[in-house]
């Protein structure tokens, strides 16, 4: 037997790798129940219209159709993470093209889809607002007339179609700008991006003989699914059992509800299992997408490069329902200062209802948009002052122990090391520019921070009769590998190898609460709970062993490989002996648990003023610096990222290979955001809801050389020092590419995506 090695810090293969590579992993579309029906949805053809009536008779007459539900079948129960403004289906009026207005359950999917087309809905078209500016215009039609009466989970500031307005400031901004030697100002615009999980959304619900609902769905949180379904259907939570199959990625799109409430409503109505899987177009049109931002930003510095002041104003298109929008707005303002010492910062933002699909959480959560603007301005100031852009960032980087914007204490900060590492590895400033005719080459840098944390989580570790362990958390592994990482944390804390720990699948009946696989939080937040639960188990093992060995608890210790040892002696007991003793003789089976909530305050009222901010406790900080090498075709304007160097301070890499996977994945998704991806509306209609016309990068469009650099500044209360990595590497990509385009071609792009047309137009304008 090879000697035991610590399980944390090793690139252990994913615990579910075999079932995935053999194709046997079951995703929502693979599931089936006896007697199962299939659901289909009818979508709204109008951006804004009153529903006058339904005629479902033709649909119900189709052989094989078992049930049709319309808005008339639902009472007004509303869900929403921040503002309860959304029912499971359009009730009374439709608010965007593509919104579900009716659902059908039938013997097979084809029959259901055919029948859905036969439902007749009488509409009275209403004037629509398709942009935030239209929505804010005096006398604009209201998307939600009842906004004032909706339940809100925070002290929301709202007016007209603007459903959340947030102010955040620190220092004396006006005075500071007056002291600046250089001030840059600009407006920036970012586009809607589609999440593009390879697996579209879907759900399967079954009602048992006791009237209890069992629900499987593509999700990022079985508990948020439970909460949303129960809120929007008026069910007690004890009546709903929410489970997860394997999930084919989630980037924020599967965190809050998609079609789960509709599927549950159908199953309750017909009392048979019902499954519904969205087509790619439907997934594009009715789930959610990244918020388009308009950003006005001003940054000022002294001649020596010291940043003094920043002012930011954002306007977000929120779409037809609030969803996570207030959070995205508030978080984007918290991130808008960037990871720098800027003592005077003032931010104001609004998010506005429009007659488009809802915009919501998406990897980066508003940070990538403000970084695109703010990180270009850091570069602009550096160039004006003749300071190297990377050096400029190092000079202004938040000092270790310096608080974040708003006043939150930061307990680990590897920003300077990230910047130094990418400078060294990329050969920044020392690299000879490869010159080829017709190609301009440039280098760009950007830096950012991102949180991991937010809200509650818990873990239970149980020792089985043979001394192995079951780990239960409510955290859905969405493909990123959290089951593996949590297993490593648990195994390491108990000094056993990962094959002695099994990570149970999340399930609201059997798993302890977890808010969700979101906010880069599972490794940090759930990892803390797992480490705490394992520690609890370790303590109980020692207590039992002490009883068995008839010695004080202080004399026994956990030893590598799953043994109890007596300090200062070779006497050992295998865990199996302890497990047998507790199961069959004394003490009872060992169960350890840990519950926690992230509760360090974000705002220090002595430093900062925050109004209408929905989050008051966000999380701990990871840091990132990114250098990209961009090639621009001089005649077509096409910008290609040839190489990238991304350093991320993750505290401690529990599984380095999975950390690298997250860094690479974030960069690739960030490149789509930066260069090619854009949801385009033609009036109220999404014009490109297909993977042919929506230009996500393919394998040949992304750099061969992505250098992932792991930096480890341990977070004091993180599990083994770890903090999050899920989102951060995406955030800096658009800004770094924009800065490299400037370096190569001398033009600044203010609008995403930076398509060849836009780069070329800017280059031609600059000549």
């Amino acid at each position: 037997m090879s000697p035991y090695k610590n399980q944390v810090g090793q690139s252990i293969p994913k615990v579910d790798v075999r079932e995935k590579v053999t194709g046997r992993a079951a995703y929502i579309a693979d599931l089936s129940r006896p007697g199962m029906l299939h659901g289909a949805v009818l979508q709204s053809p109008y951006a804004h219209a009153r529903i006058k009536g339904y005629d479902t008779s033709k649909a119900l007459a189709v052989p094989g159709v078992r049930c049709v539900l319309t808005g008339a079948d639902f009472t007004e129960h509303f869900m929403g993470a921040f503002i309860k403004d959304e029912g499971p289906i359009a009730i009374g009026k439709v608010r965007y093209v593509g919104e579900p207005v009716a659902v059908v359950a039938a013997d097979d999917e084809r029959t259901a889809r055919r029948a859905a087309r036969l439902i007749e809905v009488e509409y009275e078209e209403l004037p629509a607002v398709l942009t935030p500016e239209e929505a804010l215009a005096p006398g604009a039609p209201l998307v939600h007339e009842d906004l004032a009466s909706y339940v809100k989970v925070f002290d929301a500031k709202f007016e007209g179609n603007a459903f959340s307005c947030t102010d955040l400031s620190e220092g004396d901004v006006d005075k500071a700008f007056a002291e600046c030697d250089v001030v840059v100002e600009g407006t920036y615009e970012t586009q809607a991006q589609y999440h593009l999980s390879l697996e579209p959304c879907g759900a399967l619900a079954e009602v048992d003989a006791n009237g209890r609902v069992h629900l499987w769905s593509a999700n990022q949180s079985v508990f948020r699914v439970q909460a949303n379904v129960c809120e929007s259907l008026g069910l007690p939570m004890s009546k709903l059992h929410s489970m997860t199959p394997k999930v084919g990625a989630g980037f924020g799109n599967k965190m809050e509800a998609h079609i789960q409430p509709l599927v549950v409503a159908l199953a309750l109505k017909v009392q048979r299992p019902v499954k519904m899987i969205l087509s790619r177009e439907e997934d594009f049109e009715m789930v959610r997408a990244r918020h388009p931002f308009k950003i006005r930003i001003r940054t000022g510095a002294r001649k020596d490069g010291t940043l003094l002041a920043r002012e930011v104003e954002t306007l977000l298109d929120g779409g037809a329902y609030a969803d996570d929008s207030p959070g995205v707005l508030g978080y984007s303002l918290l991130m808008a200062r960037g990871p720098y010492t800027i003592p005077n910062t003032r931010c104001f933002g609004r998010v506005v209802y429009t007659n488009k699909m809802r915009f919501g959480a998406f990897r980066g959560f508003g940070n990538g948009q403000v970084a695109f603007a703010g990180e270009q301005q850091i570069d602009e100031i550096a160039h004006r002052l003749g300071i190297d852009p990377l050096e400029m960032r190092l000079r202004n980087a938040m000092r270790i122990e310096e608080p974040w914007f708003g006043g939150q204490q930061v307990n680990s900060n590897g920003l300077a090391e990230c910047l130094e590492k990418v400078r060294e590895k990329s050969g920044w400033g020392r690299r000879a520019r490869p010159s080829r005719p017709g190609v301009k080459v440039g280098y760009g840098v950007a830096a950012c921070a991102h949180i991991s944390g937010l809200l509650a989580t818990s873990a239970i570790v149980r020792m089985l009769e043979d001394g192995s362990f079951v780990l239960s958390t409510g955290a859905t592994d969405i493909g990123q590998g959290s089951d593996t990482v949590l297993t490593q944390i648990c195994a390491d804390a108990l000094k056993v190898t990962v094959d002695n720990v099994v990570c149970a699948t999340p399930d609201t009946d059997g798993s302890p609460y977890n808010w969700g696989t979101t906010a880069s939080r599972v490794t940090y937040t759930t990892g803390r709970a797992v480490a705490g639960a394992a520690e609890d188990v370790g303590r109980q093992i020692k207590e039992a062993a002490a009883k068995m060995l008839n010695c004080p608890v202080g004399d026994v210790e956990l030893r590598d490989g799953g043994f109890i040892g007596v300090k200062g002696s070779n006497t050992t007991l295998p865990y199996a002996a302890v497990a047998g003793f507790t199961h069959w003789a004394s003490g009872g089976p060992i169960v350890g648990s840990k519950s926690l909530i992230y509760d360090a305050p974000t705002i220090d009222p002595r430093r900062a003023v925050a109004i209408g901010l929905p989050f008051t406790r966000i999380g701990v900080f990871s840091f990132n610096a990114l250098v990209v090498e961009v090639e621009i075709d001089e005649v077509t304007g096409k910008a290609t990222v040839a190489r990238a160097w991304s350093a991320v301070d993750v505290g401690k890499a529990i599984n380095p290979r999975l950390v690298e996977g997250q860094i690479e994945g974030g960069i690739v998704q960030g490149l789509g955001f930066a260069l090619t991806e854009e949801m385009v509306w033609d009036g109220g209609r999404l014009a490109n809801p297909t993977l042919m016309d929506y230009k996500a990068p393919g394998a040949v469009d992304v750099p061969y050389e992505i250098n992932s650099i792991i930096v480890e500044h341990p977070e004091p209360d993180g599990p083994f020092g770890a903090k999050g990595v899920g989102e951060i590497s995406l955030v800096s990509v658009p800004a770094a590419v924009a800065n490299a385009i400037f370096d190569a071609a001398g033009v600044r792009l203010h609008k995403l995506p930076m398509t060849p047309e836009r780069v070329l137009t800017a280059m031609l304008g600059a000549d």
Partner: protein
Amino acid sequence: MILYDFDLERPNTLEEASALLRDKGADARVLAGGTDLLPNMRVEVVRPATVVSLGAITPRDPVRETDGTVRIDALTRLATLEGSDLIRAACPMLAEAAHRVAGNQIRQMGTLGGNLCQETRCLYYNQKHDYQFKAPCYKRGGEVCYPYPNNDRDTCWSVYMSDTAPALIALGAEVEIVGPGGTRRQPVEQLFTGSGLTPHALGAGEILSAVLVPPAEPRFGWGYHKSSRRGGLEFGMAVMAVGLTLDGDGATCRGARMVIGAVREKPIRLTATEQAMTGAKLDEAKIAELAAAAAKEINPLPHHGFTKSYIRDNIKIHMRRVLSEATARARGTGTAENGGHHD
């Protein structure tokens, strides 16, 4: 998911297939690889009552006939073409064009005949119409054109996007067609009507059976480029194909075929620029002038979000590269492979 019912026929020969097509009339469609027909059936651009599958018919490998003509069965998979030693040696432009189609999985299914017989495309009608569109467009039998609402010609302005057709026209290739009256041959360019409504000039019961590529003349050179946003899984923003021959001096152009695809209802031959080229010495300055003339001669339809001027500029830029490559190949001096350009 295809929501309507249809009959499936699976004949054993092209002649049987032709007879079936003639019997079923306009409500029948041919299924070869299915990579164009099936998505179009799903979005209901076409709603055939009968699908005539050619799946039971096995194509022969491409062969060189005694006069040097390369004969390629229409059912030959695109992946077979790009990997065929014969095609790569005898007509490398066709191998290149086949390689540029979509992605590997699609090329494993898609056939050369199917690629030529593909429907025209448009950002509007190649999408499901369950609810987004209040009335059918011209192509779907209605009376509106969504991309060109002020379309005063009352017709469909969709774009024919085959990657192989421009190459075959530039190579002077012919198609063989099996029909009720037997077999006929015609130049590839005559396969197209130029109408977005009915892009192909095939009669009732007619099926493409083969493509015939003539042997290259001495001092022949080719250039090919497909502009697209991504490097793969794309239809072109513009496709450029040039075949030219040089005189014995290695500089003067004896004749040329210059074709632009993916910008109009059919591939467009730039005959004026071809004429201006013939007899000219193809130096760098002349090539730049010809590329500019080509961009001026073509009148692209703006499509899939690309503006007319951006398409024109792109053609001007890439046609220069294409002409340089063709000239170098004709001289036997350059084999600069056209790898990696995809913008």
